[in-house]
Symmetry: D3
């Protein structure tokens, strides 16, 4: 997996998921936001890292007794130990939150190992404990039943779907308090840079609007005055 | 749009959405509660105002490039500038929260312009910022992707559907921490007055129940004693 | 209804719903977690009690005018007065949260009467008030419209479905911040005892993982060292 | 159960479900059409009979092994033997078609016993065989898995919900090629009579429209000419 | 409304909806297929015509008594009389098939008036009668209850959403046995011409495949031999 | 892939999917029926074959232009050429029928190559043409839009989910007019043999029921007389 440039990582941490979706939309990508997941612990801060994936299929009863975890090479446990530090663990749970994708112990292990976050389009068990950990975690809703009741872990680090988004290993996965966006690896640097610019402009606009200025001509900047004002604003703030 | 009587507005601010739905039910209206939306900022207080509407249709790709906002008469932007102070901006997003109905900048503009609130049966982007604004806002879930990915703003202030409720311009839109109810304009005064009475009685009942009294005979007031006690309670409290 | 052994009740209060679902899974029961409900007031603490049920069917308009509550034997009101202290009131609302299963007054009455909690697979009205009561309450989402708009209370204390789970009167109903699990009455004591053991082990594992230990060999305890360490850990903590 | 008047039964067989829903709407009943079920065998003709009901709850694994059918008093089997000739067997399957509500053998037994039809808001197994039987049957979709995988038969002939409609034992259940409507018992005679009248008028209108006449003034009959023409049409046809 | 060129109409009748969606995809339009509707009468042949639209909003009870149809200018009835011959009547029913969008009498009137078809993303009542009419009709499922129970007709011939597709008056609406696609007016001629070419090639491919030829190199035509063979095939058939 | 024993194949062709689900239920497997798919061409006869799978993930726009099919190794096309004769092609489309899983040309190619059938939990384009082919095909609903609009073919012959069922390459896939069941490879012979026995008994029961016999004691065979009668019936018919 190619390493994410540290400056790109810093840029992605400083912009919003909403802004990134707009940058991707401008490049023709409309479906990069993982639908219907939210952070358990918004206080854990923004999440940025390369995707490392786990794929579940439906559980067949005879293949998923409680004893499967005796096997050290069980894909769920193996994946948790192999996810690189700095990466985001992304789970394809087929949008089914009726059983757990993972629980507090595995999420703790990812945190201790230095992983950047975890995302599932299903749910986590031990959600209250996970909400207290210092690692960003995103899911649909709490899912106390063990994954064995519905999910069988199968593949590690293959391309998957998560919340209706294609996720390829190494894509940039960025999360904030609203949710998670997947930035294709080859676009990460360009999108990050553009998003930083957009964020400056939107911060300027937000200030102006709160001062009482109309959005017409301001947002987008169709009037000269807007561009002049924004240039001065940037200069004053050193952005 | 007829102006809402200030005293009616005050009455509506002092009663709950739940109580209003009961008043409407008594008049044969069963579907006035906007289903499956919730407030981003319950602390912003109750929301009361006349409906001012925006209608979206599905976005067709060629009609919705990022450049459409260059047009000052784009319906979304125009509507935000035209929504009267005191009115509630209600958006028909066809119950689709996969792309934004609006974001923090537009909601800020509505707030600064003195609008009473905003409701969509889709979702907002910049939800964390909106949650910090002093204007009530209701949606289904955060929706970072730009509206252009799925929604095209089309009509301003026409009758719409929102969360399975018919909303006509000028209807009273009332929100509290539970959600939003639409009170037909011609019923607003009568319903508000009745709701104030019901609220007094329910406050009395709540106190009695917490003291240990059975609900039988009390709620509803089928026993004489209840009516006597309530009369005394009102007198004591000046309600 | 057989009384729940007080020590079993204490044990169930000290373990998580997630752990209980695993104990049930080991006994072949995969569907005991009530899907898609959450607590209004996680601060109210854990909920444990025997199930006492109410069954709703769809409301037919002519049978559900506002006047039905004049009847002291209306099943909703009657059930609230009959639910035994210590029991959990479980409502089959056919997973429909578009109208209320109950409101703050009835939930207050249950609280005052000493009931252990209330669960519906629909929604409550007056949700903000209920969230302030000292009784655990679980629902899908706020539902201000009166139950008469969609639900007719019919049967008291019969077997029901709630959130896709079979609930028999007298089953143990256990809730925590994640949700609610139904433990068949005859399994309550055995499951509670096993869950206490599992909880001790998982607490030990959680500590070890946070210290940096790998989950392989630890969780589950496939290495001798794990079992030795756990034995020492228990001894040190007196668990 | 009160017997259905034979002439009412004949009238109900001669009108459409659509017409009956309009008659019920005029009486304030908006939700009597069982949503999302269709006939397996439209050729079996119209279905009219009193409701006889079966209620399922979710299946708990330990209570639903294959051996339960050894018990002659198992509610599903008992109900099939007890359903009166002329009655319609209506099953509350909680709108879950993932397992069977019944199969061809039980439906055959109902047919041989003279029952008037069967309706479930779930699905039947052996759907192709049922489609060849001379008894009207309505479901959502084929459901080969045995009911034991998801449904436990519990109550016989209690009020239920079916496809979001309240069904009371003894209500008139009427089906045609479009679906099934539930007519409250006390309204059956009046609704049947009115529907016969409406059907005559709609047959007249249909003929006129196919001849090229505008619907304005014709449907509804707001012009005198329409009423005159209809009177002549009825006379000519003896209706 | 600009008239559709007769030769374009003929071309559109001779190609499939599937082929048209591919032509639109090549132009960047991914969402022009009306999701989840099907023809009641596939035997009625292909449907081609300009869109003429009707917009429903949710019905409010007091505005939708049975008497509203006494008004000759009721939008539903007016629209049926105003839809131009050759046009397709497209109804925005908010994807809600629980009440009728129209019934056999209105569909008959459209047929007699020379309209080219009717599409709703809800359902029709009198579906069996409509299935026997010689006008293509598309819906989600039979919906016997009168529209008044859930839908209020509001706008005539405005842009709408139908089955998640944007429909503008004058767009080409094309239906076959699979469903309905909306071709933006300005693309109709170009798309029709391209679809005719694609159809010829796919007919050639289908023949070759049935003769046993591999799809590799054939579909798409990446081998010279394929192009040569196709040229000969066209010549032989005069296509 | 191990070859399916020809006699097992013959047995599976002679029993129903419903019967097979019961045999699997007796072995603890409750979720082997592929939910919500149906045959396009019930006349094509029963389908039996080993699973050969294709996995789709969501389509990312830049990776799925129309030109991808120029690549002879595109997984969709490659899979169609590699699926062994006698096998069933099973597609994981993530239960999304909004774009095609395959069309008539590819299905024709599978037929010509001797494959036993095709199943998707999405939809096919060219459904009317597929319905006329002599190969069993199962889907959710017609899906004219090209797969490129929503699905990217990724993996060939890996374990997948299809309609909420785990499908492993080599599992027996059996379809009839009701739908499709997945029989784990190691159970195929035993389940087939048991199903043949059950089918004989159910054929006997069906005959008896149509003659007027009660199901009590007959189905299941809890009376001696049933067993005696069945023995004679088998002897008479040589089954």
């Amino acid at each position: 997996m190619p390493q994410l440039d540290p400056s790109t990582r810093d840029q992605l941490k400083a912009v919003s998921v909403a802004t990134l979706t707009t940058c991707l939309f401008k490049r023709g990508l409309r479906n990069q936001f993982i639908q219907d997941v939210h952070p358990l612990n918004p206080a854990a801060g923004p999440m940025v890292g390369e995707a490392f994936t786990l794929r579940y299929i439906p559980a067949r009863e005879d293949l998923n007794p409680i004893t499967v975890f005796q096997d050290r090479s069980h894909p769920q446990r193996k994946a948790v130990e192999e996810c690189p530090p700095g990466a985001v663990f992304v789970v394809d749970s087929r949008k089914d939150p009726r059983a757990a994708s993972a629980g507090a112990i595995l999420v703790s292990r990812l945190m201790v190992r230095g992983c950047a976050g975890i995302v599932t389009d299903g749910g986590f068990r031990d959600a209250p404990e996970i909400a207290r950990l210092a690692i960003p975690a995103y899911h649909n809703r709490p899912a106390p039943p063990t994954n064995l009741t519905r999910h069988q872990a199968l593949d590690i680090n293959v391309p998957i779907g998560c919340g209706d988004v294609a996720v390829f290993p190494g894509d940039m996965v960025v999360g904030d308090a609203e949710g998670v966006v997947v930035v294709p690896a080859h676009l990460a640097a360009a999108v990050a840079a553009e998003a930083v610019e957009m964020t400056a402009f939107e911060d300027f606009v937000a200030e102006e609007v709160l001062k009482g200025r109309s959005i017409l001509g301001l947002y987008p900047a169709t009037e000269d005055r807007t561009r002049t004002d924004f240039a001065r604003w940037r200069k004053e703030r050193g952005r």
